[in-house]
Amino acid sequence: MSVAERGRIASVARLEEIRRELEAKGRRYATTISVCAGTGCQAYGCQEVVNAFAAELGTRKLDEKVLLRSTGCHGFCEKGPLAVIQPGGVFYQQIKIKDVPDIVEKTIIGGQVIERLLYSEPKTKERIAREADVPFYKFQERIVFGRNGIIDPTSIEDYIAAGGYEALAKAVTTMSPEQVIDEVTRSGLRGRGGGGFPTGRKWAVTRRQAEAVKYVVCNADEGDPGAYMDRSLLEGNPHSVLEGMLIGAYAIGASDAYIYVRAEYPLALKNVHIAIDQANEWGLLGDKVLGSDLSLRVHVSRGAGAFVCGEETALMASIEGRLGTPTARPPYPAQSGLWGKPTNINNVETWANVPLVITRGAGWFSRIGTEKSKGTKVFSLVGKINNTGLVEVPMGIKLRDIVFKIGGGIPRGRAFKAVQTGGPSGGVIPESLLDLPIDYDALTEVGAMMGSGGMIVMDDRTCIVDVARYFMNFLREESCGKCTPCREGIKVMLGILTRICGGEGAVEDIERLERLARGIKAAALCGLGTTAPNPVLSTLKYFRDEYLAHVVDHRCPAGVCTALISLAIDEAKCKACGRCVKVCPTEAISGGQKKVAAKIDQGRCVRCRACFETCPFEAIVIT
């Protein structure tokens, strides 16, 4: 039935009727192939894999029996392109176009599992057939992110068939706005954008304001280096975010909503626009949603990629068309936000949690997590980790479990050094704290923060001073420049860190750095400024020795800072394969062939470490 025939859904009963129709339609297919089509897998060429499946199914006249679905991100970005075949839940990874006929022939028709396409456990080399048994997925709790893998984000039918808009229906027909707020408050849901403010309380404050016009805003200006949780949610399940916003608007009393998405997220923007158009056509947005008194218009505002625009006051200024710089609070957005009206801002993941809280209840939700941090958190697990990807874990999980059970440990058997959480505003967590249960308060207590969920893993070849310098450089480029401490202070901190990495640091520099970092933390205007020194403070807290090694011994223990290292070849280990000779950009390496060990001319060596990275025998020694 086309949308024109169906018309706007004017009641909850009609929504349920349509859901039953869609479920029945889904049951007509014997098999479903869900191919991940998130941005990561698209980069691997998943679209060609989808096309190949479509062609193969067409040739074999299987398109009536087999449903081929391009879904949002499944999270296991390391192994794309990937597909899950239902029923059975067989998980194939790193699929190439040439594998497609085989999959159709053997698995779809023959019901066999193709060994070579299965995930292999790095340590045991054991092949695992089912998605649910793969350790990367097994130890997760994918309540928010899970539906990404079973729906086509451009299809509102898929979302509805999977129980979508059920929470909205429940809220507008059986609950008063106060009851909705009460449910969200009791669930213990806290803001997933970093601050961790209790969501229900924020809603209640916004609702309480006397103004007639109120707004709800979705902050999708995810900007931390290495973080892409919100992007994948918006790309993979945009209707869940819309549904959360609808429920929020109902509870707060808003009739206009804004989604602020960065323009560098083209797929997220596209899928959000498609979802809004569909929801409008279907009567799930616009006037009298599902025949209730709720009316909501959703507008999309594109951000131009300024990190600072993720700060809520700067974000609102940007939506209004003004310069994206923060303003001091109070007043808080809940009191005076967009165009001076009470405004409730939550981030993508927070909104996506709301339908779950309403459908399954505060009691169910609050059973997941720790005393003060309820539910799950999506992290982007990146850096020196075997299983790069997006993981959703219950609050309170140990960092060790994320890194080693889900993440599969550190590549090439290297040693774990630290993990950076919360992006440039967060901090590093050393190995001694690996058993820390991850929640908002625990992370803040150790000097890191939850942030929006970036998690960068570092191994023993990562220089901690260099990491601090990297983040300071990022912040130097992203500071808006409005307040003195952030603008001027970050510049100075970067200068000091650069000097230390360059071998020109002194012990006084460390003291100066620490004093300045404390000063900026206390004196800066906005949340970004006050957290900007965190990478410096937390690395100083846990890795002071490494700073001292740089300034006292003029040594970079991790062998990263080029000014402080020298490279040599261990002749006993050198197999004279010549690889180092080839990669050296300055022709500093001689020998390395005809069984003669290679030798580095120190005068010519620029310490770029290319030979070190290339040598398969660990014959290059950094001192």
Binding site: C483, R487, R512, L516, A522, A523, A524
Partner: protein, 264 residues
């Protein structure tokens, strides 16, 4: 409806304030010495320079807040000169001094906090601009011309005319020159035109229709004439001719009312 009254404590001294008042305003009424650079009574709070930081204490502990912007609330406890406040101001002033060693205002204020030199490097020894934005804000909020603004961001942030070319909306009113605390924004007369140095804008002068003296800018006259058409003729007189003409008009009126016998 009466205004809401709050009791606050400043440096141990109890005082009453009204809702909507800022900590700065309440403290200044009590004679407290709180320095400011980006603050101006006629403009909205901006809270960017951070020299007016004070400690606001609640049951959850103390935080530093910009007194120029932070509103008072019932039971608020404020420390204007605690060690934390002094240390934060000192760091801010060291940073400002590193940025603007050429600014006398910054040097004097820093000296008051014992900062006579800065541990941080200076990029431009001639720099005077502290990026308080008073020029930009006065032009937008008071003059409603928005002729100048901020360009770039972060360290490259600076004030300037659009595209750093002649500012088409600049009236040459001089409000920016007036509010600039460091003397960075400059204007001068060159060959009969008003040159707004900082904005790369030359403004043609208007001549008094009576004495012929150049007394304001052509654009400023046009703007006033547009907004106040009734005054279109009067404003084309320089201030001195305007008072002469006014006196003359009044004298004429009195003569008409009382007849001859009055001195002309």
């Amino acid at each position: 409806m009466g205004e809401e009254v709050f009791e606050i404590t400043v440096d141990g001294q109890k005082s009453t304030t009204t809702a909507g008042e800022t900590i700065l305003s309440a403290c200044r009424r009590l004679g407290k010495d709180i320095p400011t650079l980006c603050h101006h009574e006629a403009l909205k709070p901006y809270a960017s320079c951070r020299v007016c930081l004070v400690e606001a204490k609640t049951e959850r502990g103390g935080t530093l807040v910009a007194s120029c912007q932070y509103p008072v609330s019932e039971g608020l406890v404020v420390e204007t000169d605690s060690p934390a406040v002094r240390e934060a101001r000192k760091i801010v002033l060291e940073l400002l001094l590193a940025r603007c060693p050429a600014s006398e205002v910054v040097r004097d204020l820093a000296a008051r906090y014992g900062v006579t030199s800065t541990p941080y490097p200076t990029d431009d020894p001639e720099e005077k601009c502290i990026l308080c934005g008073l020029c930009v804000r006065a032009c937008e909020e008071l003059v409603r011309a928005a002729a100048v603004g901020f360009a770039d961001r972060g360290l490259e942030r600076r004030v300037g005319s659009p595209f750093e070319e002649s500012a088409e909306e600049c009236l040459g009113c001089g409000a920016c020159v007036n509010v600039c605390p460091t003397g960075k924004v400059e204007a001068k007369y060159v060959d009969g035109v008003l040159r707004m140095e900082t904005w790369r804008t030359d403004l043609e002068m208007a001549k008094c229709r009576r004495c012929g003296k150049a007394f304001t800018t052509q654009r400023l006259l046009e703007r006033v004439a547009k907004e106040e058409p009734d005054l279109a003729e009067e404003i084309r007189l320089c201030p001195s001719c305007r008072s002469k003409e006014t006196i003359h008009k009044w004298a004429e009126a009195i003569r008409l009312a009382f007849g001859a016998g009055l001195p002309s």
